[in-house]
């Protein structure tokens, strides 16, 4: 079932939670709504579910108007951040709940319900837990029960509100891969809300990035990473180095608004910095001093700063390259960006004024 969000706006008092959001999610697609806290992503998800009403705009489910329909009639599966399992019911009863409250006319028989619940508990690998209660399970297990409960009524749409954010890093990683496998098995249209860019890029078919109630960009993870539409998106997807300078003739700005000769700021990812001991034949090279080397992990992180200490950079290089360079803290080297992106100066300035973690 496809989901269509049309010009949806929502205010809480004077706070604009959503400003005219429009997006379409295709049948069987897994879309991640990504953004910092307060960006409106959870509000949008709750409006799609019918748990919240929009001030303006419409929600269409499979092409049919659903804005006025109640949450219970939308046939949606919803997974909450803090699981929201029924604490006084066994795991079995939790999963069976949606089947038991169906109207008598379409309700399954006791035996069918039993079979369906067993099947789902098997799917989430919790077969032997059916008699336990939610407080006897770990966070990861509870969230799997919550997913089984949501899938029990065979929803056409599955909505997940930061489902893994309360779990520790290892479990989070396992669960999101597992979620992707389940999605590929069931082909249920899925919307995942998250503030974790790694999670969004890894799991989703398409990523929608929200910032302060507005949609910044929606595209495939690859496209969004390679061609971020705004400095906000670029910054939100990973670490960023800033190059201050004047645009020279041989640099073509990626987006409009920046003219040759203007003072401008270029964005460079840490892995796009080249470190060398001799001055390269590149006008963009900068002399920097090595401040700190973090060699743990597959990539080494090198903290660098200009000799006057005014500007900081971070570079990420492979372990073999690090050994080849034999860098020492305190020595002077040159860095050259392999790729620089430029954005509209006004937007960049706004982002920097917000004190975004650059």
């Amino acid at each position: 079932m496809s989901i269509e969000v049309k010009d949806v706006s929502k205010n809480y008092g004077s706070f604009q939670a959503l400003q005219k959001i429009s997006l379409t999610i295709q049948t069987g697609e897994l879309v991640a709504l990504l953004g910092p806290s307060g960006s409106g992503k959870t509000t949008l998800l709750r409006i799609i579910a019918g748990l919240e009403t929009s001030d303006q705009g419409a929600i269409l489910l499979h092409g049919a108007e659903a804005t006025q329909r109640t949450a219970s009639s939308r046939g949606i599966g919803f997974v909450f951040q803090h699981y929201a399992l029924f604490r006084h019911m066994s795991i079995f009863e939790n999963v069976a709940f949606g089947l038991r409250v169906q109207p008598r006319a379409i309700r399954l028989s006791r035996r069918e319900i039993h079979a369906r619940v067993e099947e789902l508990l098997h799917l989430v690998q919790l077969d032997s837990y059916s008699r336990m209660f939610p407080d006897q399970l770990s966070g990861g297990q509870r969230q799997r029960v919550a997913l089984a409960r949501a899938l029990a009524v065979r929803p056409k749409v599955l909505l997940l509100d930061e489902p893994f954010s309360a779990l520790d890093a290892k479990v989070r990683k396992d669960l999101r891969n597992w979620l992707r496998r389940i999605h590929d098995e069931l082909h249920v249209t899925t919307v995942l809300v998250t503030h974790d860019q790694e999670e969004a890029l890894e799991v989703a078919d398409r990523v929608a990035i929200l910032n302060r109630g507005a949609l910044e960009q929606i595209d495939s993870p690859q496209a969004i990473y390679d061609h971020p539409a705004s400095p906000f998106v670029f910054n939100f997807l990973g670490n960023v180095n800033l190059f201050h300078g004047r645009l020279l003739a041989d640099l073509t700005p990626q987006t409009g608004g920046t003219e040759q000769g203007d003072s401008s700021i270029g964005f460079v990812r840490p892995h796009e910095l080249e470190i060398s001991r001799t001055l390269p034949e590149d006008t963009r090279a900068v002399l920097v001093r090595v401040a700190r080397i973090q060699a743990a992990g597959s990539l080494a992180r090198i903290e660098l700063s200009t000799p006057d200490g005014k500007e900081q950079f971070t570079a990420e290089i492979g372990q073999s390259e690090l050994q080849l360079l034999a860098l020492q803290a305190g020595e002077d080297v040159f860095i050259t960006p392999r790729a620089i992106r430029y954005f509209d100066n006004a937007e960049t300035k706004e982002l920097l004024d917000q004190g975004a973690g650059i």
Partner: protein, 293 residues
């Protein structure tokens, strides 16, 4: 410098010894006060009741008036507790699950019965339903008796016990949040289904706790009931009023015998309360939270 900041070992010992002495002294004085003001008088009730022996005790209870008072008290409890339960659930549900204009006013209104003297509450009902009150003429035209009759007693008791269930449920439901109810709604449950299958099972213990408190208060209410009752023997006399009546007639043994019944009811209430607290952890978590914060 360092000599100033580092205390000698004797300095370290003395405050702990002093604090232990203080603790013992405080506990001791608290116990003495408690036994003087609470335990001794409570025992005194039973001593007085059995002063003239078992036989007289039983006989003073086996009077038509006492039976009538017992029946009336039971009736008042049987009406006021369910009414307050329904009201309490409705109010807590509205307050914790919805945002509406005048919510704070409603929360304040719920507390009025706790702030107002029960006598004043009784007078308020006399003013409204009494013969010379606002509705008095209309009521007497239709031959309806509220004041100096059972309906007045029930009304006054309901008013006085209004806050008990709601005040127990509101903080509990606030802390619990509405996640589970939302989950049930998305799964297709109807409003009634959500209430019976999710909300009620979750609030059953605090609800029972509030009901026990309300029942105990409706049994023992004196002030408000005294004003509206009219003290008609065997008709509008509840147990507390019966105690007063016997007492004013210098029938001390009978007064204390009936009083001992009320005391037993109170003790049963306390034990029930404690059982709920221990088996469910209700109110204990709150105390722990307060300590840790």
């Amino acid at each position: 410098m360092s000599g100033h900041t580092r205390p000698h070992s004797s300095h370290l010992l003395r405050p702990s010894l002093a604090s232990r002495m203080t603790r013992i002294a405080l506990i001791f004085s608290a116990l003495v006060l408690l036994s003087f003001f609470l335990v001794l008088p409570l025992v005194g009730v039973f001593v007085q009741a059995f002063d003239q022996g078992w036989k007289i005790f039983i006989e003073s209870l086996r009077q038509e008036d006492v039976y009538a008072a017992l029946r009336l008290t039971a009736l008042v409890v049987a009406i006021s507790v369910p009414l307050n339960t329904v009201f309490g659930i409705a109010a807590s549900w509205a307050i914790t699950r919805f945002d509406f204009y005048g919510k704070n006013l409603l929360i304040t209104l719920i507390d009025i019965p706790l702030a107002v003297s029960p006598v004043v509450a009784g007078l308020m009902y006399v003013e409204v339903f009494g013969l010379h009150g606002w509705m008095g003429p209309w009521l007497s035209e239709h031959n309806l008796h509220v004041i100096f009759a059972v309906p007045g007693i029930v009304l006054a008791t309901v008013f006085v016990t209004f806050p008990f269930v709601a005040r127990e449920l509101i903080p509990f439901m606030q802390a619990q949040g509405s996640d589970e109810e939302e989950a049930a709604a998305v799964l297709g449950a109807s409003g009634a289904s959500i209430f019976w299958r999710v909300t009620l099972p979750n609030i059953k213990w605090p609800l029972l706790y509030g009901m026990v408190l309300a029942a105990s208060r409706s049994m023992g209410e004196f002030g408000a009931v005294s004003v509206v009752s009219g003290h008609i023997r065997g008709k509008t006399t509840t147990l507390p009023l019966q105690v007063e009546m016997f007492y004013n007639e210098y029938n001390f043994t009978a007064a204390f015998a009936v009083a001992s019944l009320l005391t037993c009811a109170a003790i049963i209430t306390l034990i029930t309360k404690k059982i709920i607290e221990v088996t469910t952890g209700l109110h204990q978590h709150q105390a722990e939270d307060e300590r840790s914060s």
